[in-house]
């Protein structure tokens, strides 16, 4: 038996979500009296692979096959590793790729699937997980009735738990066939903190007034090492890129800290942010619904409040 973790990497690096996944996998494996095994594919250095040992993973399976752009192939490869190691649980990050291939793996393994669980399962034997439903308006406990569970984890809901062990990398053969899906072209933004991976998110709404006013918001994000985001009308207007749009029809985020700057707090926006641990709202309207879900609020005009906030955070960061 085992707990198999799909350790996805980007630019040959693991991100925090993967370490969090390994932390959870280690605890699950302990509770099941078995071991956590990580699986990864494609070009990546041995040292980076072994870094998974910091969170309790002793065995790392690695195939140099570049299978991750074809969902079918990737699902086949991970499923094969799961069968080989008699996996009882397959853990995946809730990333674009993780959420795309998890359903395929579940079908192959005749397993139960839960996408985007919140934190450690409510029960492991039998497996019962916590999830959101109705776009965050409800929480649900779901029974995974199959013998095997395939699970994706919502980032920031379990946390990092160090448990250093020596990790051993085991090379697997590259026996991938020809892919059905091929990448023709790829654009990736460099040097930016990604919304999906960010611990802090600074988000602006129509209250930012125009595309030209984003500089102080970006500055706040810079100071805090945060990702930037926006409400839907802001991306519809073209003030900000579409990938920043948060909410029911955009991205669902679950950072430790979410700044809602000039966002009224419409239900469709809240659908994307209800998993945030702490919400700070700045709005000139004291009646804005965002204050009913925020933890901390400032009533005021962003034009004057934001520069002062930046000043205060800058001081804090520089230790004065």
């Amino acid at each position: 038996m085992s707990v198999l973790i799909y350790a996805e990497h980007r630019d040959q690096k693991f991100n925090k979500a993967v370490y969090e996944l390994v932390s959870l996998g280690y605890r699950l494996a302990n509770e099941l009296n078995t071991q956590a095994i990580a699986f990864t594919s494609g070009d990546i250095a041995d040292d980076e692979l072994k870094s998974l040992g910091r969170f309790g993973c002793k065995t790392i399976l690695h195939t140099s096959a570049n299978v991750y752009d074809d969902e079918k192939q990737l699902a086949e490869t991970i499923s094969a590793a799961a069968l080989e190691n008699n996996a009882k649980v397959v853990l995946m990050p809730h990333s674009f790729r993780g959420r795309a291939v998890a359903p395929r793996i579940a079908v192959r393994l005749k397993a139960s699937l839960a996408q985007s669980i919140n934190g450690y399962p409510a029960s492991v034997q039998p497996m019962v997980v916590n999830k959101r439903a109705f776009s965050g308006k409800a929480l649900v406990k779901e029974n995974l009735d199959g013998d095997i569970s395939v699970i994706t984890l919502t980032p920031n809901t379990f946390g990092l738990h160090e448990n250093a062990v020596g990790a051993v990398v085991q090379a697997l053969p590259d026996n991938a066939g020809a892919p059905a899906t091929r990448v023709l072209q790829q654009e990736v933004q460099k040097g930016k903190i990604l919304l999906s991976e960010a611990d802090i998110v600074v988000s602006g709404g129509r209250g930012m007034r125009s595309a030209d006013n984003w500089q102080p918001l970006e500055e706040l994000a810079d100071i805090l090492g945060a990702a930037t985001a926006c409400s839907r009308p802001v991306s519809d207007e073209g003030w900000r890129p579409h990938h920043e749009h948060v909410g029911q029809t955009g991205k669902v985020v679950s950072p430790s800290l979410y700044f809602a700057l000039g966002i009224s707090g419409a239900i469709q926006h809240l659908a994307g942010i209800s998993g945030s641990k702490v919400i700070v709202a700045v709005n000139k309207d004291p009646e804005a619904p965002i204050f009913t879900v925020a933890d901390y609020g400032i009533v005021g005009d962003l034009q004057s409040v934001l520069p002062r906030l930046n000043e205060a955070f800058r001081k804090h960061k520089s230790g004065n």
Partner: protein, 247 residues
């Protein structure tokens, strides 16, 4: 080129959700039903492509009881050519995908579009499962779809960027934001012609399920918001550092 759009019938997104007395199910009395927003965008894109002469036929398919026919009629009114209802219970994602697969195997679709998630159970599961059951390639988080002759150009969002991909057909595309901008609203004429368009009902034996709902609850109520004077942002920094411990 034939496109098939999988339609999930969901409560209007502004619906207040209620549970049954034992919290084991949702109380649907008085709920307004709509086409799942992503499925509506998928359908809109299919209609745009048909209007541009790139698509021959659009079929919509949904799993559920007779009550979902009103939603399928809306899809016909918006511009789909034919609707299929699989008369079975969408008991969980796996059962739904199995029922869809039964129906789709009888059809001749080049592209099968699913939404990235249904706004009720937020399963994010049916599209990928369907592709695996049908043994077809899948492309997920699709934000753009163009058709040029026999070639299908797909863009998908990836972490921090975008990829242009091509895939062999038939394929399942799991679509998200960007696939279309404004959902197509049925015109009066559309509503009239929808009445004469075919809505077929196909039967299917009950499928296996692999998950079940234990209980529902409401998210914990937030304690009231601490207000901070706009003149004193240092206090916010202090609270975030010492109380919330997030900076």
């Amino acid at each position: 080129m034939n496109i098939l759009v999988c339609i999930s019938n969901v409560p209007d997104t502004t619906t207040r959700i209620k549970f049954t007395a034992d919290n084991s199910a949702v109380d649907y009395t008085g709920v307004q039903w709509i086409i799942n927003p992503w499925d509506e965008l998928a359908l809109t894109r299919a209609i745009e492509l048909k209007e541009a002469g790139k698509v021959d036929k659009i079929t919509v398919v949904s799993v559920g009881n007779a009550a979902i026919e009103a939603t399928l009629r809306k899809a016909l009114a918006a511009g789909a050519d034919e609707a299929i209802r699989v008369d079975a219970r969408a008991a969980d994602s796996y059962a739904t995908a199995s029922h869809l697969a039964t129906a789709i195997k009888q059809l001749d679709a080049d592209l099968i579009l699913c939404g990235i998630e249904s706004s009720d159970y937020n399963g994010s599961s049916v599209g990928g499962m369907l592709a695996e059951i049908l043994d077809m390639p899948s492309v997920s988080s699709v934000s753009s779809l163009e058709i040029e002759g026999e070639s299908v150009k797909i863009a998908r969002e990836i972490e921090g960027g975008r990829q242009q991909v091509e895939t062999s057909l038939p394929a399942v595309l799991v679509v998200q934001k960007g696939i279309a901008i404004n959902p197509r609203i049925p015109s009066m004429r559309g509503i009239m012609t929808a009445r004469t368009k075919p809505l077929k009902v196909v039967a299917d034996a009950p499928a296996d399920t692999r998950t079940s709902i234990s209980t529902y609850e409401f998210p914990p109520q937030k304690s009231s918001c601490k207000m901070i004077d706009a003149e004193n942002p240092e206090q916010l920094v202090d609270l975030l550092h010492n109380e919330a411990r997030v900076v």
